[in-house]
């Protein structure tokens, strides 16, 4: 009798622990090495999402947990991490930041039939042609380049808008700047803009004056610049030095960082940049999310944290609907995602050669009085755009 009771208790305990086993999502993130600064931001966003989901009851009553592996900012380690996570039977994996890491991961996971939700990579090639197992809720080069040109087109139609026909492009030779510039050139041709300047520079260049001087004589209406952090700061300062201005100055990546207005001061004003999310965007819950992120880190959140948050929300939604941790079921659930979050709506679609890509709406931020302000699209804008940018000596 006694043993029977014990057996029942043990069985009940066993059942209850089984019922409360965490639902685990694999994460491959760059926590050490050159991309660690970004990885840290993604981590903050992901952790916030997990807290939120668990406070609201988890995945069908079971707590959600992340199994995080560091990829040391390199592809080989990421692949080893995928293998390890796969051995732990995770239903899906979220990862990673650089396209050079996520690309090989996507290849491997497609072969091994593990759902991959892209965390931070924006290169077109990850979802174009894409695969049945790779999903991206965030933007890609095509979406971002299109947003810039939608913005330019829109400025022309504004009341008292000025005619703009010429674009000068300056960009680093890394994967992201190059792909954004190449897409930009294609779109410029489609929409009747003339590219009057086209300069790529090797990462590590610090003197951009010769290139900027060359643009001076072309007098472009639009400056389309794609640069990583320090480059963008140097370019902005040197534009002032050589006296190169334009009606629109767009600087991608670099100008989106919270540190950019601090580093270049007043020169940052009028600069426009495309992001997938901003704290003042008019989405429901965006402000609340921004405040919670700020409370967690003590500093102003960027779209990196938001993208981390978005990835976990999408994963949790799919796992909830799948009702199991079977990889095929999770893949099917991801494919039928139709989700509203404070970062973006999410729906994975097949279009223009892309597969399982969320056609996320990107925003244009303009720096006004040292603050990033959402100015486009109009229905999401927090403030009117300042246009055209005056010449440097007229400011």
């Amino acid at each position: 009798m006694k043993t029977a009771v014990v057996a029942v208790i043990v069985a009940a305990l066993g059942l209850s622990t089984a019922a409360h086993a965490d639902v685990e999502i694999g994460v491959v993130n760059s926590l050490s090495g050159p991309f660690a600064a970004f990885g840290e931001r993604y981590r903050t966003g992901m952790e916030l999402a997990v807290e939120e989901i668990n406070a609201a009851g988890g995945i069908n009553g079971e707590p959600l947990a992340l199994v995080v592996q560091d990829d040391r900012s390199e592809a080989q380690s990421a692949l080893a991490a995928v293998e390890q996570l796969s051995g732990q039977d995770v239903p899906m994996i979220i990862g990673s930041y650089a396209s050079s890491i996520t690309g090989p991961m996507a290849q491997l996971m497609t072969r091994q039939e593990i759902p991959l939700l892209v965390l931070g990579s924006a290169d077109d090639s990850i979802t174009k042609p894409g695969s049945d197992w790779v999903f991206r809720a965030k933007h890609n080069s095509t979406i971002v380049a299109n947003t810039y040109f939608d913005f330019f087109d829109w400025l022309k139609t504004k009341e008292g808008g000025e005619e703009m026909t010429t674009v000068a492009m300056l960009y680093g030779n890394g994967a992201w700047p190059t792909s954004l510039a190449e897409r930009g050139k294609e779109i410029a041709a489609e929409r009747g803009y003339e590219v009057v300047g086209d300069q790529a520079y090797d990462q590590g260049v610090t003197d951009f004056r010769p290139m900027l001087n060359r643009f001076l004589s072309a007098e472009p209406d639009i400056l389309y610049i794609v640069s990583y952090a320090e480059d963008g700061v140097a370019i902005t300062r040197q534009m002032r030095e050589v006296g190169l201005s334009a009606k629109v100055i767009a600087i991608d990546t670099s100008a989106a960082l919270p540190s950019f207005p601090e580093q270049v001061g007043d020169l940052a004003n009028y600069v426009a940049t495309v992001v997938s999310w901003s704290k003042d965007v008019q989405y429901e819950g965006a402000l609340d999310l921004s405040e919670r992120l700020k409370a967690k880190t003590g500093s102003d959140p960027s779209f990196y944290e938001a993208e981390g948050y978005l990835a976990v929300r999408v994963a949790a939604d799919a796992l909830t609907r799948a009702g199991s941790t079977d990889r095929t079921a999770v893949r099917d659930a991801l494919a039928s995602t139709d989700l509203q979050t404070p970062v973006s709506t999410v729906k994975f679609e097949e279009y223009d050669g892309f597969k399982n890509q969320n056609p996320i709406r990107s925003l244009v931020l303009q720096i006004q009085d040292g603050q990033h302000v959402t100015v486009f699209p109009e229905d999401l804008a927090a403030a009117p755009v300042l246009f055209p940018a005056p010449a440097w000596d007229a400011r």
Partner: protein
């Protein structure tokens, strides 16, 4: 020589058993084997001939790009692409060596960095040829005899065959006339010349062999990653990693580079899993400790002690 081949045979058997014993740790094993092969090949030039190269990533990239571009643009099977890559690498090494082997001291090393950088710039800027800065995907591969070249187990066997091949070549070289010529040149070029050896020819041969073998491994690496970006493949850091692997293991020894790969890449993976963010710090400390206390490299030091002990015993006895 027979002793070395026996060890190699045991290593092959262990290697063949590995995928059955640890089916969930293949990626790391492939990395270790590739680095063992690269470092062993590097050592033919860097250790046996004493010419320090910091540009071998260029050959890795060459091999990987030949396979990827050959497959995606020309429908060329990877084995042919790898052969072409080996020829191209040897030709490049020949041209490069002809120009720079007249130089002594650090000039050759500096030139290697420059050549790898030139290759990187070509891969980035000549988009029509290489896919440019955004890189190139390997979407399909042929299936010889029904073997799926995307399978991890197949990658493992390719990497195993590659590293075994390089070690076998070095074992043969170490006992051959060519091996003695290499060491003579390394120790003193003038004396080697006095003994009737043409140092430039010897160094050129070593460089070409080393380059061709690294390109072969690069081809396997390309298939393994199946997504190539020039910033990763022609990266100076990869060149340094290859050189470091051989130096830590023991330059100019048969087993040193392989031991270096096992230690550096293997411990890198263990540290990654165990120490999270601190992993690179601990990795750096490990390298520092080896350099401070084992200046000849791990295997080099073991070998030296063994020789000294044998000598001591023979003089006593």
């Amino acid at each position: 020589m027979i002793r070395h081949f026996t060890v190699l045979g045991i290593a092959v058997l262990a290697g063949l058993a590995y995928p059955h014993l640890f089916p969930n740790a293949l990626t790391i094993a492939i990395s270790v084997l590739l680095f063992a092969g690269w470092a062993t090949s590097w050592d033919i030039l860097g250790g046996w001939a004493g010419q320090l190269s910091l540009g071998h990533a260029g050959f890795v990239g060459l091999g990987a790009y030949f396979v990827a571009i050959g497959q995606s643009d020309y429908g060329l099977a990877p084995w042919w692409a790898m052969m072409l890559a080996m020829i191209a690498a040897a030709a490049l090494a020949f041209a490069w060596g002809r120009i720079t082997f007249g130089l002594r001291g650090p000039y050759f090393t500096l030139s290697t960095i420059a050549v790898a950088e030139i290759l990187r710039m070509i891969a980035i800027n000549e988009g029509w040829l290489t896919g440019g800065a955004t890189g190139v995907f390997i979407a399909t591969l042929p299936e010889p005899f029904g073997i799926d070249l995307f399978s991890r187990v197949v990658h493992f066997h390719m990497a195993l065959a590659f590293s075994v091949l390089t070690v076998a070549i070095v074992i043969i070289i170490s006992q051959s006339r060519f091996g003695y010529q290499l060491r003579a040149v390394r120790e003193d070029e003038s004396s080697a010349m006095a003994a009737g050896i043409n140092p430039v020819v010897v160094k050129l041969k070593a460089f070409m062999l080393s380059a061709a073998l690294v390109a072969l491994g690069g081809g396997i690496y390309g298939i393994f990653l199946s997504f190539l970006e020039p910033h990763i493949l022609f990266y100076l850091f990869l060149s340094i990693q290859i050189a470091l692997t051989a130096i830590i293991g023991g330059r100019g020894t048969i087993w040193g580079p392989s031991i270096g790969a096992l230690l550096l890449i293997g411990s890198g993976e263990i540290f990654r899993a165990a120490f999270a963010q601190a992993n690179l710090l601990i990795y750096g400390l490990l390298i520092l400790v080896v350099i401070l206390f084992l200046p000849r490299g791990i295997f080099g030091e073991i070998q030296r002690r063994a020789v000294r002990r044998r000598y001591a015993r023979s003089t006593q006895g």
